[in-house]
Structure formats: C-alpha cells, structure tokens
C-alpha cells in the first residue's frame, strides 16, 4: 500500500493561458476556465481522500478501514445523466434502480452487484474499503466510444452505434472501471510502463471474475473475454468477438490483440497492450488451480494487490513475487495453488526470482 501523491493533471498554467487567448472562442475559453477550477477541486478532493485513507492505514499498520471499524455499512450508489454533454457529473437520476432509462438502471444494478462481489468474495466494503459512495455518470458526450475512471467516479459513453454500443452493456466493463478505483486505494499503481500494464490487467482480471461470479461459472465454463457486450454491428460484422481475450491475448478476433509473453513486452506501449501478459498469467493460474476463479486465484491476486509490499511503480516481476508469496500464505495446505501461480508466471516468461517478500 502506498501514500501516493495523486495523479497528474494538465498544467493549470496551460489551461489558464488558453483560457486567456482571445483568438479562441469564448465558449471554449469558458470551458477551460471551468476545467481549471474543476480539476483543482477534483485533485484536492481525490488526493485528500486517497491519502487520508492510505495514511491512516499505514500509520496504524492495518490494511483495511473496515477492520478499523470506520466503515459505512452499505455503500450508496448514485447515477448521473450527462445528457450527451461532457460536463461531469451531470444531473442526478432519481431512483436509478427503477429508472425507465435502461442505461441508468443497468449502471445502478451492476454497480450494486460489483459492491456485492467485492464484499462477498474479498470482504471489501466498496472501492476504498470504507463504504465510499460509488458515482456513475452515463450518456457522456455524443457517440462517445469509451468508459473511464477519472479518479473519483465512473463515466460511460453511449458508443457510436457502429463499432461500439453503450458501455454499460458489458458487466465486465463496469467491474473493470470500479476496480481501477480499488487499485487507486490500494497499490496505487502508476499508469505507465509495467505498473500501468498491471493496473489495466488487474481491472480486466477482476472485471472477468465479476462477470463469472454473476453467472456462477467455473474457470472452464468462462469465456475469459472482455467487452463482448459493447461491440457494435460493424465490429461484429467484421468477425470481432471481444476487445481482449485473456485466454488468447493475440487472437485476431480481438479488436485489441495483445502480447501474452514477457519477451513481447512493448516498451513505451499503452497499458492496454502490455496488460495482455499479466492477463494471460491470471488466466493460466486460474485454469490450473481450477474451480471458480474468485475462490483461489482471485484471492491470491487480491492479496498481492492489497499487500503492504505493493507500491505504485511495481513491475510485473514484483507483482508475480507477491502472488507467489500470497499463494503460499493463503493456501499453505493446498500446494496446487502455489504451483498454479508459479507455473502461470513462468509460462508467460516471468520465472521465480525471489520469494522472500
């Protein structure tokens, strides 16, 4: 766990300079001024929240506010409607669970299910383990082909209707975005290089586990694909079946094929490219261990993510070492778990280096 200094933002000096440039339309300049104010507010809020949480834990030598007895018992879930603007969070949706807007209802219901997943499988109370309210904004932008976590909330676009559809349609997408929040409040992984790839991979792994958990699937029954539900008709007509495939990261049926071996690591690559390597390691570990992914492999990955030895610039080798250590400590009488984890990392090109952590 880290007391990281928060994430980067655009230099306010740049935004301020642009906002004062009279050659830029008044509407754009006003938006930039608004961005300066909003970004500073968000940054302050986000850093204060993250650092207060993590500092408190570190100072007390504990890894969970839940254990410190300061949690909210049931995290609240809120949904906001951007109404096809890019203004966050948008207008509040009253009673989103009963909304006639299927996107609002889906965002609400699935977010609630993610809370249940983390609570029941890992004993975690919301993304900060202290009952944090989970806020989602829907209908972001016009035909916006993306979903993202901005450090404080989830945001979902409607898709262009051709390559992508509504990003709330895949529950693994919602599990993925919320897991970015979990990572922020635990290892605080930097969003570049190997730590960035791990950050993305952890979101894919827990997103996939969440998808499987809702369907009570074994590792054999699971499809191990990410984002199948958000593909639009054009992508499907071209033969694509998913965004990523943890079983076959390089599959040509993926819109975004990835490397699966460490010797294929793309230096300077997007975290979404190199995440294929730890994604495949998780798949291999889960398949070798068997059963349901969240019962053993997932617990090992969660223990590594929340370990006091996890840190923001952690590389794949360090994370692999933490999972090997967790497999031994969590399942001392079940050596198949360690063997499954160790074999998985070895097969993606990260053999055992040091198990002393």
């Amino acid at each position: 766990m880290c007391a990281c200094g928060g994430r980067f933002i655009i230099p306010t000096a740049v935004l301020t300079r642009l906002a004062e440039d009279e050659s830029i339309p008044a509407e754009s300049r006003e938006a930039m001024r608004h961005s300066v104010a909003v970004e500073e507010s968000w940054r302050g809020l986000r850093n204060a929240q993250t650092e207060a949480t993590q500092s408190s834990l570190l100072a007390r030598g504990i890894t969970s506010l839940r254990l410190a007895g300061v949690l909210a018992s049931v995290p609240a879930v809120t949904v906001y409607d951007c109404k096809n603007t890019r203004s966050l969070p948008g207008s509040p949706v009253s009673n989103p669970g009963g909304s006639s807007d299927t996107t609002a209802k889906r965002a609400f219901d699935t977010t609630r299910a993610v809370i249940d997943f983390y609570g029941q499988c890992f004993g975690r109370n919301s993304i900060d383990d202290a009952g944090m309210t989970l806020m989602s904004s829907i209908h972001y932008g016009v035909r916006y082909d993306n979903a993202f976590w901005n450090g404080a909330q989830m945001t979902y676009g409607d898709g262009d209707g051709q390559v992508f559809t509504d990003f709330t349609k895949s529950d693994d997408v919602i599990g993925h975005e919320l897991t970015h929040g979990v990572t922020q409040f635990t290892a605080g992984l930097d969003y570049s290089d190997e730590s960035g790839a791990l950050n993305e991979s952890i979101s894919d792994a827990f997103g996939a586990m969440f998808h499987q958990w809702r369907r009570k699937q074994t590792v054999v029954q699971a499809d191990w694909i990410i984002g199948a539900g958000v593909l639009g008709p054009v992508a499907i007509a071209k033969g694509y079946t998913c965004l990523r495939n943890m079983a076959k990261p390089g599959s040509p049926q993926c819109l975004s094929p990835q490397p699966s071996q460490y010797n294929e690591y793309i230096s300077g690559g997007d975290p979404h490219e190199n995440s294929g390597i730890p994604n495949h390691a998780f798949y291999l570990a889960a398949m070798t261990i068997g059963g349901r992914s969240w019962e053993k492999a997932g617990k090992v990955w969660y223990a590594a993510l929340t370990s006091t030895n996890a840190h923001p610039s952690m590389d794949m080798n360090e994370f692999a070492t933490l999972t090997r250590a967790a497999a031994r400590s969590l399942f001392p009488r079940d050596s198949d778990v360690y063997r499954g984890v160790d074999d998985a990392w070895t097969r993606v090109g990260i053999p055992v280096a040091d198990i002393s952590v």
Partner: protein, 86 residues
C-alpha cells in the same frame, strides 16, 4: 503543414489515427492545437484510467514536433477526425 494525429488509450485500447492538412482545420481549433504543441511544459495525462490520449505530430518545412495531448484539452472537432483501425 500537416498534423498526424493518433488516439491511444480508452477502455478498448483501440488505436485511431488520421493525417489532416492544417488549412482544413477550423482556425480556432488550429490555434488551440498550436498552443498545445508549443507549450514549454509537458502536458501530463488526465487523472484516472482508460482516458484517451492524442499523440499529435506537426510536420512542417521547419521540422517535426510531437506531443501527447490529453483528451480534456484536445479540440473536439480535431479529435473527432480520427478513424479507428479495425
């Protein structure tokens, strides 16, 4: 002068790109783009995860300049011209 624009990131990690002639851009958008490209400070990314980043390269007789521009300050009309590589 032309701009080579590559979009990276996003949940999908699906790249999109295009090359545009500077003269075809809205003058205000072009001015914004030039200000961003000429910034002496590096433009750090948007907070969080799965955000888009635009890798913009300006090619002119005087040389090439490349800069990563986060989606929150990228002129939307310029961002919208990229075409996904599927």
């Amino acid at each position: 002068m032309q701009y080579i624009i590559e979009r990276r990131g996003g949940f999908a990690g699906l790249k999109a790109s295009c090359t545009v002639d500077g003269d075809t851009l809205d003058p205000d958008d072009r001015e914004t783009l030039e200000t961003l490209l000429n910034s002496k400070e590096p433009l750090a990314g948007d907070p969080g995860a799965d955000r888009y980043t635009y890798l913009v390269t300006r090619e002119s007789p005087s040389g090439r300049t490349t800069r990563e521009i986060p989606e929150s300050v990228m002129p939307r009309a310029v961002a919208s011209v990229v075409i996904a590589e599927i």
